[in-house]
Symmetry: D2
Subunit: 152 residues, 4 copies
């Protein structure tokens, strides 16, 4: 298994599957988000600061913070699924811990428990400055369900 060879990166097939799905998400492109890491059970998504993702005080909007967190968790779950499966978010809970400031935010979704039907992920979002300063701005937990790939 590739993830034993390199636990820091999923297999090319898994990475392609995740990236292809991400590329079909109109919202992620519209926000300007990008996947920056696809490891087995862990996915990172980065969203650069821009006026289009702010709330009324100029910080990242909680909705933008949540959107990338929720997507990172979803794709983290997907990395552990067989090829013919899809993932749906059942629910999530997120605490906004600090104003989401910085040159970008980085969401990290990590699988906490991968079951046959349900997966539970931990969600973390960091505000990151170009000088490297990194602050935890949100933390949450997400439940996801595995479904057979729908015929569209």
């Amino acid at each position: 298994m590739e993830d034993q060879v390199n636990p820091e990166q999923a297999s090319p097939a898994v990475r392609k599957r995740v990236q292809d799905s991400f590329d079909r998400q109109g919202l992620m492109a519209h926000l300007g988000a990008q996947i920056t890491r696809i490891a087995p059970g862990r996915v990172h998504i980065v969203l650069p600061a821009r006026a289009e993702v702010t709330q009324q005080h100029g910080y990242f909007h909680a909705g933008a913070t949540s959107a990338v967190a929720e997507s990172a968790g979803g794709y983290a779950a997907l990395t552990l699924f067989p090829e013919d499966c899809e993932v749906l978010t059942v629910e999530y809970k997120i605490n906004l811990l600090a104003p989401a400031a910085g040159d970008r935010i980085e969401a990290v979704g990590t699988v906490l428990k991968s079951g046959r039907t349900l997966t539970v992920c931990q969600l973390e979002v960091y505000g990151v400055r170009d000088d490297g300063e990194r602050t935890l701005v949100a933390s949450g937990q997400q439940t996801l369900i595995r479904v057979n790939t729908p015929t569209q």
Copy 2:
């Protein structure tokens, strides 16, 4: 009090305060969301379907659904605050109950408990078709904190 005269609509001052804040949210404009109702303790936000707010199967992205739900709850809380106060989302939890399909989604935030420091809101999101069909697609609960208006 205006909300006793008309429980369906907040006072002009409150509506202006909410609308002005909403208009400063880059994300809401970027998504294409609009406030459609500002009542005391209840706010509705509508987001029309467009490719820019979808997930990989063409439904509304859970991140978009959550973003309008979270904003509706925040502004519902704000309608009950004194003039010199702001609202911050502490946390929220949302269940995605059904694929968010339709010509638009409508988020309804309703104050469940308004305390001196903390407010708790119920969040509901409906998928709405132009023919009037209306389906509950998400349901959640949100905790918010009242803060003195920051000097920006």
Copy 3:
């Protein structure tokens, strides 16, 4: 169907199934909780005030409040399942809205969405005084999963 004849009460078979399961829960008996209503998609559980269920200030402990809320939701889900199914709580979130005072608390679990695999319930807990005063002390949302009855 009985629940069309009497929407306020589940069929005798469903009530027996719920009551039997409840009676096997050591915790509910140990706390002193009782089921007081079993309707299709809605179950009430009452817990009388006693020193054994308090927190440090003499109010109902959040753990006791949650335990009856979580059980009410679980049994509400079970009322809508076929005979050979069991229910497990996947997760829940609860806001403690006010000190849980009163002569008893009453938890109400209500099915919000009943799917093939997952059920989502709304949870409410009221503090009730013997004089009839009734205060909402907690509100939450719960996700449950249907499973085949395990052979024990």
Copy 4:
């Protein structure tokens, strides 16, 4: 500061304050729970298996699991507060990840973010067997508020 001398254990004054509060909780004694560790920002509570804390299949009841988790988080928050403050749980969310089996469960509450008004804790519960096997059975997140000690 004691917690710099010994980061694994809170100061005697803090430990006494936490233990005294815990001892006033009727529910914890009634369940048979005990505090086993009081460190700065982290508290462990252990609940031995007994029929009085079970659900219908003989596992620990989700209500018991949650009760000790919620209390562990509350006391973890309290360890970081000044002397004249109390803590109230605002809300929490918990995922039940696996059947809570074992000779005892151990709840670990850890402060994730300690603010002036609000504290956010991570909650974990392990099923522990006498032979040392240890399984994560629940994971959650809790929001708490600091209040001045009420005059009782």
